[in-house]
């Protein structure tokens, strides 16, 4: 047992971070913002080349043969950069949907294991080649073009275009309930990892700003009011980190704990951390935080999106209540 990152893991994380800094910087996101569907197939191909989708596939199938814990680190970095697109779904689909791992097939998805609602919201519909439905009894595939859906004129998150639909056509069953259950758990862990990443980058941006911005003849980061807001952000970030990493490590070796509990804990704690840190970041940025120009708002908007995938904080808390007193 050693909960620290291995050298390989540090290197993996650093590699993804460098890639994001080079290809998914805020300036590059701004360019993407004006493109149809806020999507760039060339970038998608580069993400695939980084091995992000085939990360957990065996080497003999062209993958990198890594673990969920490694994927958590990768998605933490993608979250930091608010990398756009149906990243989790395509990652999950690698090995099941042909071309997903190579970035040739862009795979989107919808988690239908949560509470039913009349309204169906579909992300990235115009950019995906395949839509997967995650249902309690298995995974189904649908042709996105066969769906009668209405595009939403203004999405909450500029990088997450959505369509809404009243119903979906029948899908083709491509995996069983067991796989669906595993996908739901891994998907939740990866969304938690992205939320962790956002908790980090929002704290980082606010810290940088507070060290530069002067008011009353000194940097605002010299005021306890600001220092303590950001210290609390740090605490939340570290709690989110511990929870998200534990979810990954528990998925890899279920004997170390209760998988459901670890995954739900990650979504709750990382979700809270991201939401509060993103809000704190806007607050510390002051008036500039309220502009479109300063990217602080992109992060909060993404948090709202991620809160609504793979179960909300409330849903996971309710599930955790049932597990209180169970063996960890």
């Amino acid at each position: 047992m050693d909960f620290r990152l291995s050298e390989d893991q540090e290197a993996l994380k650093q590699g993804i971070r460098s890639f994001c800094e080079g290809r998914i910087s805020i300036d590059q996101l701004r360019e993407l913002e004006s493109k149809p569907g806020a999507f760039d197939r060339a970038l998608w191909g580069e993400i695939a080349e980084m091995g992000i989708f085939g990360l957990r596939l065996p080497e003999d199938r062209g993958g990198v043969e890594l673990n969920v814990a490694d994927a958590v680190l990768v998605f933490e970095e993608l979250g930091r950069a608010i990398a756009p697109g149906p990243l989790i779904w395509t990652h999950l689909a690698a090995g099941l949907v042909e071309g997903a791992d190579l970035g040739d097939t862009v795979v989107g998805g919808l988690d239908m294991t949560g509470p039913s609602t009349e309204l169906i919201m579909l992300e990235h519909l115009e950019s995906i080649d395949t839509l997967l439905l995650l249902k309690p009894d298995g995974i189904e595939r649908i042709d996105p073009k066969a769906i009668d859906a209405t595009p939403v004129e203004i999405p909450l998150d500029p990088f997450t275009p959505v369509h809404h639909a009243k119903s979906l056509p029948a899908g083709e069953r491509i995996a069983d309930a067991e796989t669906a259950k595993e996908w739901r758990l891994v998907g939740t862990a990866l969304a938690s990892a992205q939320l962790l990443g956002i908790a980090e980058s929002t704290l980082e941006a606010a810290t940088d700003y507070a060290k530069k911005r002067e008011q009353f003849g000194r940097i605002i980061g010299s005021f306890q009011a600001i220092k303590h807001i950001l210290a609390d952000c740090f605490v939340r970030q570290e709690a989110a980190r511990a929870a998200a990493y534990a979810a990954g490590a528990t998925l890899d070796y279920p004997e170390v704990g209760n998988v459901e509990r670890a995954v739900s804990a990650a979504k709750v704690v990382a979700g809270d951390a991201a939401m509060k840190n993103a809000r704190a970041s806007i607050q510390v940025h002051g008036g500039m935080g309220y502009t479109w120009e300063v990217p602080a708002h992109y992060f909060l908007k993404r948090v709202w999106v991620l809160e609504n995938v793979f179960g909300t904080i409330d849903e996971h808390s309710d599930q955790l209540a049932e597990l209180v007193g169970a063996t960890a």
Binding site: M121, V152, H164
Partner: protein, 395 residues
């Protein structure tokens, strides 16, 4: 400590309610955020209707065309205005809530005569030129220079967060007239016509995507000295009068309207199905909403107390900072929960399937500004701890 409205208050309520019920629907829906021409027309023509009906400048003295309503009538006004969902003050904000009141207290007879009647009729739109890129919370650090040259001040500088700059005729402008004086000592308050040469306006889009705010660049703008309000270098005192209004009852109707928003949240929750029951069946949600109702009722009682206390002087007291902090946190919390109730549908900023997404998301995004604008929450806590609790200033 009497919350009873008098007979004449209630008569006023009946009169106002009747008028609003008739006029608000006729005035139609507010134009798109980016349709500036439409917005000015919508906001100013509504102001004119209020004026013609005798409901403009509810707390303004009669000599300035106001209604000079009693404290209790003002509360009736805020309540009925919110209930009727009457148009937001919009482009008239600065004139009605800053410029006008400041001129009443500090302006010369000529200045009052030139502006106040037009402001209250919706014939003059004002904007605010206070903040600068390096003077935000630390407003008194402003650097925009005004140098005397004949009968004019020659103004050079860079203002920011100027609402409605692109549609204003006048700007309440803070300038530094004595660069050698101590920070708070060399500031003056000017009325700047927005059509003067040398004024450049650049919209600064907000995170909502609208362009309500602008940056204003001033290059050798010649503002007549006669346009100064108050004495030269006494502008900081004048400003503080103005700023208190922002923390006072400027948002009273908005505060009352939160009640309605919570009721709407309850209706929406009842209409949404989750796990084969309505979202309102979730007791955890109900408890949160019930708790919010307690806080909302308390907020409105705080406003009643605050209005009563400011009634004598017309100037809101220091307790206004407490009202603003309470309102800010509560609004952000209520809207966060509202977003959760809407759930995945909140990924859309437009209204779909009868859900009030557009309104709720706009308000949720807008609520982020409440803890920043008009004195951030950190500044308000400083005001309370220093001016009310008596702690030393930061050093």
């Amino acid at each position: 400590m009497d919350l009873r409205y008098s007979k004449s208050d209630e008569e006023f309520r009946v009169e106002l309610r009747g008028w609003l019920e008739q006029e608000v629907p006729k005035h139609g829906v507010s134009p798109d955020q980016n349709d500036w021409e439409g917005r000015v027309e919508y906001d100013t023509s509504w102001q004119r209707k209020l004026f013609d009906a005798g409901f403009a400048g509810i707390n303004w003295p009669k000599e300035f065309g106001g209604r000079e309503a009693s404290v209790s009538e003002q509360l009736v006004y805020y309540e009925e205005y919110a209930r009727a969902r009457a148009p937001y003050v919009g482009v008239n904000f600065v004139g009605l809530l800053h410029g006008g009141p400041t001129l009443m207290v500090e302006g010369s007879d000529e200045q009052r005569a030139a502006h106040i009647p037009k402001i209250i009729r919706g014939e003059e739109v004002w904007c605010q030129g206070f903040s600068e890129p390096t003077a935000g919370s630390d407003l008194a650090a402003l650097k925009t220079r005004a140098e005397r040259d004949g009968d004019d001040y020659v103004v050079n500088g860079h203002k920011i967060w100027t609402s409605y700059a692109q549609v204003s005729q006048f700007c309440e402008l803070l300038v530094r007239t004595d660069p050698d004086a101590k920070k708070h000592g060399g500031i003056s308050w000017l009325v700047m016509p927005m059509d003067l040469p040398g004024i450049e306006i650049r919209p600064l889009p907000t995170l909502q995507g609208d362009s309500d705010f602008s940056e204003v660049f001033l290059e050798d703008v010649r503002v007549p000295i006669a346009n100064r309000v108050g004495k030269e270098n006494d502008g900081w005192r004048v400003t503080n009068v103005t700023l208190r209004f922002e923390r006072g009852t400027a948002f009273a109707s908005e505060m009352y309207r939160l009640q309605e928003r919570l009721a709407q949240l309850k209706q929406v929750a009842k209409s949404i199905t989750r796990w084969d029951a309505s979202a309102w069946e979730d007791k955890a949600l109900r408890r949160e909403v019930g708790h919010f109702q307690a806080e909302l009722d308390s907020l409105w009682s705080m406003v009643k107390l605050s209005v009563a206390q400011s009634g004598e002087t017309g100037v809101p007291g220091l307790g206004a900072s407490a009202v603003k902090l309470y309102y800010t946190e509560l609004t952000q919390k209520v809207l966060e929960v509202y977003m959760r109730v809407i759930g995945r549908a909140a990924l859309a900023r437009v209204t779909i399937d009868d859900l009030p997404n557009e309104e709720v998301l706009d308000k949720a995004l807008n609520s982020l500004s409440l803890s920043i604008a008009a004195g951030s929450s950190q500044i308000q806590r400083n005001i309370i701890s220093e001016r009310i609790l008596g702690f030393p200033k930061d050093r």
